[in-house]
């Protein structure tokens, strides 16, 4: 039999391309990205100067730089909450909503996968969360749950619950039949089938959905702040800044929140790759065919 594992010598002889310190991306790629960003900023600055585009339409990179300097590197930052700190408040609520929707969505997915009756009763309500514009419901929900973080988190859960429930349900329904029969031949107790087959099979599904849910949670958290009287979030700050024509503040806030979303997305992707490669949960050699 051919041994698929590499010997130590083979591993030592294998030369990897030079990679940057943190993201496992080749250094050359990072340099190209930085250079292209520099060129884009330069063209943007010069074009706006040439065509004399007013600040209320869009800011120049120099306006953004001035704002960033004032916001983060002067005494202003010690006296007032910066847009970064406000973003963290929104992220905290997004994080709570994300974790709760993952847990509740998984539980619902497991329940509706068990039989058709559960599916027929619960699925229309879950589907409803996909049909209605959930963030617009925030003021109605606020009547019951108040105008604070609870409503916000509830809206994030409603926003996220459909995709995760459906993904969990479909994964369980489509488990290869032979594996279910095998476990059934050992035990009739569902808790063992759940522990040894269903739970490990759900790992890749949950990981892949976490990537999209994390960005969706951040978006939902920010949008929901607009109709609510939440004072600490970045969504409300963007709204107020826009009304006061603080356009560079709006742009920098959006850039910060986008970068944070990207950071979470990358972190979860890395985590997903690590878990899938190391543990191989839910990887079946044979499907139902």
């Amino acid at each position: 039999m051919q041994n698929l594992r590499h010997t130590k010598e083979e591993k030592n002889n294998f030369k990897r391309p030079k990679r940057s310190f943190f993201l496992n991306i080749p250094t050359k790629k990072i340099l190209i990205t930085i250079l292209s960003l520099f060129i884009i900023f330069l063209v943007w600055e010069k074009a706006f100067e040439y065509f004399n585009i007013p600040l209320r339409i869009a800011p120049k990179p120099s306006n953004l730089y001035q704002f960033i300097y004032k916001e983060f590197f002067t005494q202003h930052s010690s006296r007032y909450q910066t847009v970064f700190v406000k973003s963290l408040y929104s992220l905290r609520d997004a994080g709570i909503g994300f974790v709760l929707s993952l847990i509740l969505g998984s539980i619902l997915g497991i329940i509706i996968s068990q039989n058709n009756l559960h599916n027929s009763i619960l699925f229309p309500f879950i589907f409803l969360t996909q049909l209605i514009p959930v963030p617009a419901l925030a003021p109605i929900i606020a009547v019951y749950l108040g105008y604070g973080a609870t409503t916000k988190i509830f809206v994030i859960i409603l926003f996220n619950i459909f995709p995760i429930t459906v993904a969990v349900r479909n994964t369980i329904i489509n488990l290869p039949e032979y594996y279910s029969l095998l476990l059934y031949s050992y035990t009739r107790e569902k808790k063992y089938i759940f522990r040894y087959l269903i739970l490990p099979s759900l790992v890749p599904t949950l990981l892949i959905n976490m990537k999209t849910l994390v960005t969706a949670s951040i978006v939902a958290s920010i949008i929901t702040e607009l109709p609510l009287s939440v004072k600490t979030g970045i969504g409300k700050d963007i709204y107020n800044s826009f009304n006061n024509l603080l356009i560079p503040r709006v742009w920098v806030s959006i850039i910060i929140i986008s970068l944070l979303s990207l950071l979470f997305y990358i972190a979860i992707s890395k985590f997903e790759n690590y878990i899938n490669r190391k543990y191989r949960y839910g990887q079946f050699q044979y499907d139902n065919n």
Partner: protein, 256 residues
């Protein structure tokens, strides 16, 4: 050990019922090796599933008597007297060879201390001791099937049901596995009911070969194979060849 009397299996459909097994009766003695052979789609796997006590579709109507040591298949299965080996090894990729073999023992609540010793012995029986820490995808198809045999033997069932276990292997590996299964059977003396497509395999392995007709399937002929084990040395003999010829003839009749 296994007694089947007047077994009829019917799948109810929309206006058209499908009669899969018709008036089937046969028995398998304790400690014997019996093969079932028949045309494709004749209901061999349905028979396998019914004997193993696994759930069937809601539309499946079963009449007749099936007994394993005078118990219903479901009871025998609950009492851990049936070991199943499917067409495909159905190993869990997130568990290594040792963990796959110990899966039924973990579920059935065997003590971890005893488990380790049992697994060691089983790894030796299926000749996989050096590969105990390998993942299923790192093994060849034949080795994967050996793991699934080890797993089926882990809780020491009296009856092994094997549904075309070597069907997806190439000829060389299939030959190897046939030799292995004979070795295991002569050592452990389990009752084996073996579903196969291959006449050669059935003659090489079994003491008795049951030939099924096409659907609605019933027993066309039962042939006793009177050759000593291991049968490698008899493969070129005229007696061995005659068995193959005889079964091929009956199988051709059964298909028409």
């Amino acid at each position: 050990m296994i007694t089947i009397e007047n077994l009829n299996v019917l799948f109810e459909g929309n206006g058209k019922d499908l009669h899969v097994l018709r008036d089937m009766s046969f028995s398998v003695k304790k400690g014997s090796f019996v093969s079932i052979i028949g045309p494709s789609g004749c209901g061999k796997s349905t028979l396998f599933r019914i004997i193993s006590g696994l759930p069937t579709r809601d539309t499946c109507k079963i009449t007749g008597k099936i007994r394993i040591d005078n118990r219903k298949p479901e009871t025998a299965s609950k009492n851990r007297d049936i070991g199943l080996i499917f067409q495909k090894p159905t190993l869990l990729e997130w568990r290594n060879v040792t963990e796959n073999i110990s899966l039924p023992l973990e579920i059935m609540g065997y003590e971890q201390k005893n488990r380790k010793e049992d697994i060691k012995k089983l790894l030796a029986v299926v000749d996989l001791t050096p590969y105990s820490n390998y993942r299923p995808s790192e093994l060849s198809g034949g080795m994967q099937q050996k793991v699934s045999i080890g797993r089926a033997l882990a809780y020491n069932p009296e009856l092994l049901l094997m549904d075309e276990p070597f069907g997806s292997l190439d000829e060389i590996n299939r030959r190897k596995m046939n030799n292995e299964i004979v070795k295991i059977w002569t050592k452990l003396k389990k009752t084996i009911l073996f579903v196969t497509h291959s006449i050669q395999e059935a003659v090489f392995l079994s003491q008795k070969v049951i030939i099924l007709t096409k659907k609605p399937s019933t027993i066309h002929k039962t042939i006793e194979i009177d050759l000593p084990y291991p049968r490698n040395t008899y493969e070129g003999s005229s007696k061995y060849f005659n068995y193959i010829k005889e079964i091929r003839g009956y199988l051709n009749d059964a298909c028409n």
